[in-house]
Assembly symmetry: D2
Homo-oligomer: 157 residues x 4
């Protein structure tokens, strides 16, 4: 039973990610952790949202808060999943990276990977759906967002 | 684009769940919601953990806090995923149900479904792995937990 | 140093609270707790908001979500403070009570007390300010809210 | 009623804080905010804990996680209070500063101030109590912590 929780075969090593892939350091805090002493799984999803929030201006040149705020276009997820590969502890430094898997009519599928000391710690798939924050229904990915995401995806090829 | 975010064909109607399936009412709070006015996706995972926490004593006859506390056996997730089918709003009443999909050597796979007014709102798959909170490595599902989970699974057949 | 963290002289015993005082049971969850094994202080403020959210319909006959939502009147706090008298642990059952201290032009000052096994565990003072969610500036407490809060305060005299 | 929520007379301007006062930039995120569109008050306390967590190594030369973890000395709060002076919005950049008010036998009283565009946005008082994480009772402030906090307090005089 002394095996790690999951095989990590399918998560690429940090060093092999495209050079252009957006990377962000994340510090694991006291309040991310639970009485088991490790990062509470729901916090990883919250951390991921923060990474995506920074990915928008840093990698896409888009203002996340302007889109969700004044433009009233939601960037929430219709699907989110995560493999938790290694438990995280307070004081850990994660390196997170974001890749674009697919761009649909009203959706953008992202992969978010997290590494600690170069070792994969978490692997997420996030299906963002652009929605009207008036009707709460899907709307086409706005042109500027689509163009930026496609450009980023190209760069990471 | 006025289609709902996701087809719901694969989520069984609440009324067709096994009679023995554990059900729990969850109130959506102000603090579950984000500036988009709907439940923040990471909060659904937190809500799910609370449902599982109550599922243990109520449906399995097990003391979750005793297992995670004095017994030092972690009940965290190695994998978690969710389809967010309908946006939730503050004041909503969700009915959540928990089903057991599989029991492995060191894992228990759960399905957690959430309904609002009988309509599927979220569908989760949660792979719980029993771990030593000393070594943070997987350990076999304890006998009492295995027996209780198997019994519950049978009852829901 | 074996003294409790704080004298509790000024927190009234649960049994001496006015009979009409709103009381609510709160279950301390795994996710409320931190790596120190006790309730994370910020979570107590979140718990308090949930208690106030329920206090509105249950004790005041007012729809909190309607006020904050369609009526666009914020019920946030301009001041919040808490004495944490006893550490909380997962599985604890708290009894919370809400009292009205004062009603101002644009503010309602609440005391929220929490007890575990009848022993004071936390004591909060919360200064709610009614604000326009358009201008984010204080507005007078709406008439229906004022009337209901005054009535409740009278009842608890 | 168009007055700001609170007078700010007693919060010193950012520019007048001691040069040695620890300062930290904090970005207000989507998930810090609530359906009212502004930072949820409980999140400010969580943000504050993160600032204190960074204050320990950066300003005191102490390893917060080592103290709370292996050394099993809790650094939780027996009292926390905050004046919320201006609503925060996603995308805001706060500058937070930490000052030491007092050092007691088993407690350290901190002031944490937050500014947006140089204007006071929040003012907290936090009474940290050093506790044994075995007995959950107060213990004297460890010598190395006391020395570092006293030194910092001197520097900020």
């Amino acid at each position: 039973m002394n095996a790690p929780l999951r095989p990590r075969a399918d998560v690429p090593p940090l060093a092999t990610l495209p050079a252009a892939a957006y990377r962000q350091a994340v510090k694991i805090r006291f309040s991310h952790c639970d009485p088991a002493g490790i990062v509470y799984f729901a916090k990883y999803f919250d951390i991921a949202n923060g990474v995506v929030e920074d990915f928008f201006p840093a990698a896409l040149g888009l203002d996340y808060h302007d889109i969700v705020g004044p433009r009233r276009i939601g960037l929430g997820f219709a699907h989110a999943e995560c493999d938790f590969l290694k438990p995280g502890k307070m004081g850990d430094q994660l390196t997170c990276a974001v890749l674009v898997d697919a761009i649909g009519t009203a959706s953008i599928t992202l992969t978010l990977l997290g590494y600690r000391d170069g070792v994969p710690a978490l692997a997420m798939r996030l299906v963002m759906v652009t929605t009207s924050l008036t009707s709460y229904r899907a709307v086409p990915v706005p042109d500027d967002v689509r163009a930026a995401v496609e450009r980023y995806k190209e760069t990471c090829r």
